[in-house]
């Protein structure tokens, strides 16, 4: 077995962790509230900037910067819902796409205004570990581990708590959830907060590995939508699985060709799959 190929495959797996987290967030929001936040990746960007400023500029300890970032993006998520989504909930779905598209535009431009287009790195160098001749970056491994823990925590929350059960229920029958004593608006708010928190968590993990700049959302945003749609919009498990499949395609494709080409392949695959099975590989 080609060592480098294996290495690429493993690194792909590790990348999948973060993508899967973000996919969970998007799917949660879509499954429950029935809206797609086009600007989701830009929320992640905000989180990354938060980490950068708190840690690299103001010198806060990293864990604290992470915590504040996660909470901050969670709050941002709630604001997005209250200010943008709630007023147009009953509007045509395309309007919701457009409104969050406007948000994307706004966040990217505002970030450019505040931070300029310079690439910024938080400057944390984590070691590379070697396992049996394969080199794995520690930050990737960490990201993967945290993503798994996050996903598990989310799963348990959804399965075992009252609010979590209500969140799962509301996706299946929005109209009569009130008859159970559940305040629909509150659930939407909680869901938006969780979606935001997942974006914030993803931001922390990405900040460890990549530079942040205002348009970084454009690099993985479309990818995440694609993964969500492939796994079936709203299907959390499907999205999770799709994240790993796509990451492998990118990692292995990147090994044989160039990175961009592997992305092109992934997207083309997406388009093709859309025609074969519009409801996604796993589907509803």
């Amino acid at each position: 077995m080609d060592m480098f190929l294996l290495e690429a495959a493993i690194n792909g797996l590790l990348l999948a962790g973060v993508l899967a987290l973000l996919t969970l967030g998007l799917n949660l929001i879509f499954g429950v509230i029935d809206v797609v936040w086009i600007a989701y990746a830009d929320l992640v960007m905000c989180g990354m900037y938060a980490v950068y400023w708190l840690f690299a500029v103001y010198g806060w300890p990293l864990p604290l910067a992470f915590a504040v970032s996660v909470l901050g993006v969670a709050a941002l998520g709630m604001m997005v819902h209250v200010l943008i989504i709630a007023p147009i909930l009953s509007s045509a779905p395309i309007n919701q796409l457009l409104a969050t598209g406007g948000l994307l535009y706004f966040l990217q431009s505002f970030a450019t205004l505040l931070f300029t287009t310079d690439f910024r790195n938080i400057g944390v160098r984590l070691p590379i570990i070697e396992i049996g001749g394969i080199y794995i970056s520690y930050s990737r491994l960490l990201a993967f581990g945290v993503a798994l823990v996050g996903a598990t925590a989310l799963y348990l929350f959804l399965k075992r708590t009252y609010i979590g059960t209500a969140i799962r229920a509301i996706a299946q029958d929005r109209e009569i959830i009130g008859l159970m004593g559940v305040d629909q608006r509150r659930i939407y708010l909680v869901t938006s907060a969780i979606g935001g928190a997942l974006a914030g968590l993803g931001a922390c993990l990405l900040a460890l590995q990549y530079d942040v700049h205002p348009f970084i959302g454009n690099t993985f945003g479309p990818l995440i939508f694609m993964i969500c749609v492939l796994g079936g919009l709203g299907n959390m498990i499907g999205g999770f699985v799709a994240a790993f499949i796509i990451s492998q395609i990118i990692a292995i494709g990147g090994y044989y060709f160039s990175t961009e080409l592997s992305y092109v392949l992934a997207f083309m695959l997406f388009i093709v799959l859309m025609f074969i099975r519009p409801q996604g590989i796993v589907g509803r």
């Binding site: 009252y162 059960t165 799962r168 229920a169 009569i176 009130g178 008859l179 004593g181 305040d183």
Partner: protein
């Protein structure tokens, strides 16, 4: 548990629990109820019968808050509940078993029951309430880990009723419990309603199956085209010429 059951079956003169006075309601394009008045006393089981499209489901929804009333008064224990959102109505002790069951199909039976106990008052007594519901409906306990959508019609109805009971209601609203069920199962459902009634719960049932429901209720109203046409005890209605001809085929 005992405290709740004792409370709802306390003896003495029965006070009026639910009262509708001159209620008009409908949807944006269509008015469904015109000046409906009815009342339900504590501990009573009251029925509302009438043909399809009479407005029976709208009546239930107006009480439980899913639909807003244009006009009229709705009071629970004398306190107005007009304009109160559905999730608060549940906290006041009214539970609504919707038409067509409306279970959450991909949630397990137990999860459906769990969500019924969402309100804080019910959460604290979740375990005992669950035990009681399983006692009433043993088939549900057997199937508790199955997705609710895979249950048979009759079992789904039991699950829907059980879910409503989980919120520890004082008043149970049931919208066409026999709809779409085989005759044998319908019998089971009405036996169940008798049992619930025996526990002292106040029940308001809306039904198309006139024969069965008149055997179970104390009083009933006839709702036709959004207005109350007749009212009386179940005996009176059973012997009423019009009802016998039009609704019981006699």
């Amino acid at each position: 548990m005992r405290a709740w059951r004792k409370f709802i079956s306390a003896g003495g003169p029965k006070p009026i629990m639910l009262s509708l006075v001159d209620v008009s309601a409908g949807y944006s394009s269509l008015r469904a109820l015109f000046g409906v008045s009815l009342e339900v006393a504590a501990g009573e089981t009251v029925g509302v019968i009438g043909p399809n499209g009479a407005g029976k489901t709208t009546l239930m929804r107006v009480i439980s808050g899913l639909v807003a009333a244009f006009a009229g008064a709705i009071t629970l224990d004398g306190r107005s509940i007009v304009g109160v959102p559905p999730h608060r109505i549940v906290e006041h002790g009214i539970a609504h078993v919707p038409e067509n069951r409306r279970l959450f199909p991909r949630l397990t039976v137990e999860d459906n029951l769990r969500i019924g106990a969402f309100i804080p008052a019910a959460r604290h007594h979740f375990a005992e309430q669950l035990a009681w519901v399983y006692q009433l409906f043993p088939q549900l306990r057997e199937r508790r880990r199955q997705p609710a959508g895979t249950l048979s019609g009759g079992e789904q109805q039991m699950c829907a009723i059980g879910r409503a009971l989980m919120s520890r209601p004082r008043l149970l609203l049931m919208d066409e419990p026999s709809a779409g069920l085989a005759p044998l199962v319908v019998q089971q459902v009405f036996d169940l309603i008798r049992r619930i009634r025996a526990e002292g719960l106040t029940v308001l049932i809306v039904e198309q199956n006139v024969q069965q429901v008149l055997e179970v209720v104390d009083r009933a109203y006839l709702l036709e085209v959004g207005s109350i046409r007749l009212a009386g005890t179940s005996t009176e209605l059973k012997n009423n010429e019009f009802i016998r001809k039009a609704y019981m085929g006699l």
